[in-house]
């Protein structure tokens, strides 16, 4: 891109900040505005919510009476699989994302997220994943192995069609989208807060968003690794889950639930954050014990990583493991209970306004508490063994995820709708929707506790009349129709509001936080001046003063020397996402499409990276953290990579000595040659830091030399790896030969893939340097590439020790 065009982009961005929003489909496709991306997430999620809801209604209609034949057994399997997967990954998570996107920057007084184009990329990849998953219906192969995808049910032997392929590929795509978005939001929240917005002054919703992003970054890699193993087993005949070859079916359960339990908190914590905003506003009181609420949320997130195996009490882990996970599960109830008591204390003595948002928030407290109490019952292994795979568990999880999460999301929708649309919702219709929802929900799911206690198993498509389950199943179906009616009422309310409702003022609820300080809807640049922060509930303090009515001394807005900068729209995010979609389709049809998709992704990513290379507005990206935003983002990403490689290395070690046929490691590993390649990779790290130092000094000659040197050393390492792989294959060790071959090639292959990506990245930087486009101000770009390169190095340090050296 020429400097002239860069300058033009910069000017356009400044003009755009004070111009009306662009209109038309293309403006939405190329948008990088956090508010528009929030709306895109919201609309997409509502569509998927309706699809998942239709699946739920079909499930309930099938079970309404005994011996029903509305759908076949195989259709029923697909319905409950797609219902669970859709609701979790395509409805609730993106509904949360919609609110993160729209509200978090406003609540912290920022003009956008840290990486607006990355934000758009996350959305378009999410949409690609959602469309890919649901396209399985079009080819008659919807996933049918349950949302948990337990092996061996999902292995090729028992699921030979494309059904599971659609599921496992789409989950990997959706996971990538989630991790990218989370890296973005962590940096946004840590780095882009308005001056004075200390961490402890952040609204609870922002805090819970932050905790959730860390959970996503650290939990998704585990299931990604599990899915990669499944993909290799299905596509390439490896033995990760092949018991006869020494694999372990329980490994999948571990990897899935290491992700799956934090996922519960990924779904519920945003709702907790919403309720913590709604209740103080409508009780006209500060949140009771706000710091303790923050600590509780953080503790829930932290404990969330230590309780996964309570989903596996029936798997026979042994009494010590059962006891450990039982205790940790009981412990997590403490911070959760703290939240519930603090919400009640917030209401105590408050001057409550019974708005629709308040109704849903109060409903969450009641219904989540019921789900929480049955959860504590599951923490006891002997009790859990009786309830596992029964409708009691179905009742529990729906009390948490509908009574909790969906109630919270509906509270948030009614609370923030005026801010997002500039229109008010009908309160009477809203309250009618709440009571329909509350009645329908409890009618649908409370009886399922009884059904479970009576012994009705999950995932059966019909039952006999002599079981005695007919009455409560019928009641449950009536309740499900009630939930559907309530969602319909919410949609009618929304449409009526958009068509004819009165305009909403900027602060319709007499709010407490910064989003209410700007217009409804906010302008593209969010705030005309960066808002002042006077403490927790800053806007309330500004309007009403402290408890004695004393107003704070006004703080002048910070000077923005370069005026308001908004990022220019970009089409590269959607190009990359299209590449991802093509590659995924190719994985199920023709390898050529995989190559085409891969090339589009790679070319799109390079264009994406270089789009603003010379844009002066992108040079300094430093905020509250004394670290460049791009570097902070890389560190967060590397944290996620730690989990990724930690899980693969853990699996390699868990499978040591399990191969039932040779060749075995001691027969084949060439330690002297690998030691040489290790020296090579270590020395490439030295060249990398020398290259960085040269770029920082503006010494172009040395920068070219050391960058090229790093690339060459990287290529030499890859050469060593190619030699090793070729030799092993000639000696009989392949991916398919034994468990050692599967784990060895996948571990070292993924590391080699990272090295290849690093070499490509450094090569691009070298080309830029050769063309004189790498100035000292661009050193941060070299430093970020260097962080990635050194990370690849430290992963190899671990692999060299645990794979090659330890006998």
């Amino acid at each position: 891109m020429s400097a002239t065009r860069d300058a033009a982009l910069f000017r356009e961005a400044h003009v755009a900040a004070h111009a009306p929003s662009a209109t038309g489909v293309w403006s939405w496709i190329t948008t990088v505005d956090h508010k528009r991306i929030g709306i895109l997430y919201g609309v997409s999620a509502v569509v998927f919510l309706l699809i998942g809801g239709i699946e739920a209604v079909l499930i309930r209609l099938q079970l309404a009476v005994p011996n029903n034949a509305l759908v076949s057994a195989s259709t029923y399997n697909a319905l409950f699989t797609m219902h669970g997967t859709t609701m979790i990954f395509l409805a609730v998570m993106p509904l949360n994302s919609a609110l993160f996107n729209y509200m978090v920057p406003l609540m912290i007084g920022a003009r956008d997220v840290a990486f607006p184009r990355l934000n758009a990329l996350s959305y378009w990849i999410f949409l690609a994943g959602g469309l890919f998953l649901n396209s399985s219906f079009l080819v008659g192969a919807p996933p049918d192995g349950g949302w948990f995808g337990y092996t061996s049910l999902t292995l090729r032997q028992f699921s030979p069609g494309l059904n599971i392929d659609f599921w496992m590929l789409s989950l990997q795509i959706l996971g990538a989208s989630s991790v990218l978005a989370s890296v973005n939001f962590i940096v946004t929240i840590l780095d882009m807060r308005a001056p004075g917005m200390t961490l402890m002054r952040m609204p609870l919703f922002v805090w819970m968003t932050l905790v959730v992003q860390f959970l996503i970054v650290l939990a998704f890699p585990a299931v990604t690794v599990g899915l990669i193993f499944l993909m290799f087993d299905r596509f390439f005949g490896t033995h990760f889950y092949d018991v006869a070859a020494g694999g372990d079916l329980i490994l999948w359960q571990h990897l899935f639930w290491i992700f799956g339990h934090p996922e519960v908190y990924i779904l519920i914590l945003p709702a907790f954050g919403i309720v913590s905003e709604v209740l103080p506003t409508f009780a006209r009181k500060p949140l009771f014990g706000a710091p303790v609420m923050i600590y509780s949320g953080v503790l829930i997130g932290f404990f969330g990583f230590g309780v996964w195996a309570h989903h596996m009490f029936a798997a026979g882990m042994g009494p010590v493991a059962d006891a450990a996970f039982s205790i940790s599960t009981m412990l997590i109830a403490i911070p959760t209970g703290v939240k519930i008591f603090n919400w009640l204390a917030t209401l105590w003595g408050g001057s409550i306004r019974f708005t629709t948002a308040f109704h849903f928030a109060a409903g969450l407290i009641a219904m989540f508490t019921i789900g929480g109490l049955s959860g504590i019952m599951h923490s006891s292994p002997p009790v859990d063994l009786q309830q596992t795979d029964s409708y009691f568990v179905v009742a529990h999880l729906h009390y948490v995820l509908i009574g909790g999460t969906l109630s919270g999301l509906l509270a948030g929708t009614f609370y923030w709708w005026p801010k997002m649309t500039g229109r008010l919702l009908d309160e009477r219709l809203g309250r009618l929707a709440f009571w329909t929802f509350a009645l329908g929900f409890n009618l649908a799911f409370f009886p399922q506790h009884y059904l479970g206690a009576l012994g009705m198993p999950r995932r059966i498509y019909t039952y006999g009349a002599d079981t005695g389950w007919g009455l409560w199943n019928f009641v449950s179906t009536v309740g499900a129709l009630g939930i559907a009616l309530s969602i319909l009422l919410v949609l009618v309310n929304a449409v009526r509001s958009l068509r004819a409702a009165p305009n909403a003022p900027g602060d319709p609820w007499d709010g407490r936080t910064l989003e209410w300080r700007t217009t409804s809807p906010p302008p593209p640049h969010d705030f005309d001046t960066i808002p002042p922060v006077y403490g927790r509930d800053t806007f309330w303090r500004e309007k009403r003063g402290d408890r004695y009515g004393r107003k704070p001394t006004p703080i002048p807005p910070p000077v923005e020397p370069h005026g308001i900068h908004l990022p220019a729209p970009s089409h590269w995010p959607v190009v990359v996402a299209v590449g991802v979609l093509i590659a995924a389709v190719g994985a199920l049809s023709h390898v050529l499409l995989v190559i085409v998709g891969g090339v589009i992704v790679l070319a799109g990513a390079v264009a994406f990276a270089l789009e603003h290379h010379r844009n002066p507005a992108h040079e300094h990206q430093v905020g509250e953290l004394p670290v460049d935003r791009r570097k902070s983002a890389m560190w967060v990403f590397l944290g996620s990579e730690c989990m990724f490689f930690g899980t693969i290395i853990g699996t390699y070690l868990a499978y040591r000595g399990r191969s039932v046929v040779g060749p075995y490691p001691h027969e084949i590993l060439n330690i002297p040659v690998t030691t040489l390649s290790t020296f090579d990779l270590l020395m490439s790290s030295l060249l990398m830091v020398l290259a960085l130092a040269a770029v920082q000094r503006g010494d172009h000659r040395q920068a070219r030399l050391w960058l090229l040197g790093t690339v060459v050393f990287g290529l030499v390492f890859l050469g060593f790896q190619a030699f090793e792989f070729t030799t092993f294959v000639h000696e009989g060790l392949t991916l398919q030969q034994n468990v050692f071959g599967s784990t060895f090639f996948v571990l070292t292959g993924f590391h080699g893939g990272h090295v290849t990506l690093g070499v490509f990245w450094l090569f691009i930087l070298w080309v830029l340097e050769m063309r004189g486009r790498l100035a000292p101000k661009d050193a941060i770009k070299v430093e970020i590439a260097g962080l990635y390169w050194h990370f690849v190095d430290i992963v190899w340090i671990v692999i060299f020790t645990v794979v090659y050296l330890i006998p």
């Binding site: 962590i186 730690c642 868990a654």
Partner: protein, 111 residues
């Protein structure tokens, strides 16, 4: 009430920080090479076989730390960045060890 007092404005520091000198980089590289050579050597010394696994793990951890602290400059970064990476690494190691224990490959406690 202290709660109404204005907060101190945010400090928008620059991202510039000290990096080690070229000499330090080279010294670290030399140490990495020496330790790698030691790792290679100890596996052939029979007398060390009872302690070879912990010894290799310690040497590997030392190399890991050197690269992270000096080449990745974590020693010079803000505490927030250090906490993010150290926290993630700790959780990753904890989960890997738990996984090994639960699959019976490495028993921290009996089953």
């Amino acid at each position: 009430m202290a709660t109404t007092s204005p907060a101190p404005p945010g400090t928008h520091a620059t991202s510039a920080h000290e990096h080690p000198s070229t000499g330090t980089y080279v010294k670290v590289a030399v140490i990495l090479c020496v330790v790698t050579a030691l790792e290679f050597a100890v596996i052939y010394i029979r007398a060390l076989s009872p302690i070879v696994v912990p010894l290799l793990l310690v040497l590997s951890a030392g190399k890991f730390a050197l690269v992270v602290l000096f080449y990745m400059h974590l020693r010079y970064e803000s505490r927030a960045v250090s906490a993010i990476f150290a926290g993630s690494l700790t959780i990753a190691i904890g989960i890997a060890v738990a996984l090994l224990t639960l699959t019976g490959a490495f028993l921290v406690f009996g089953r």
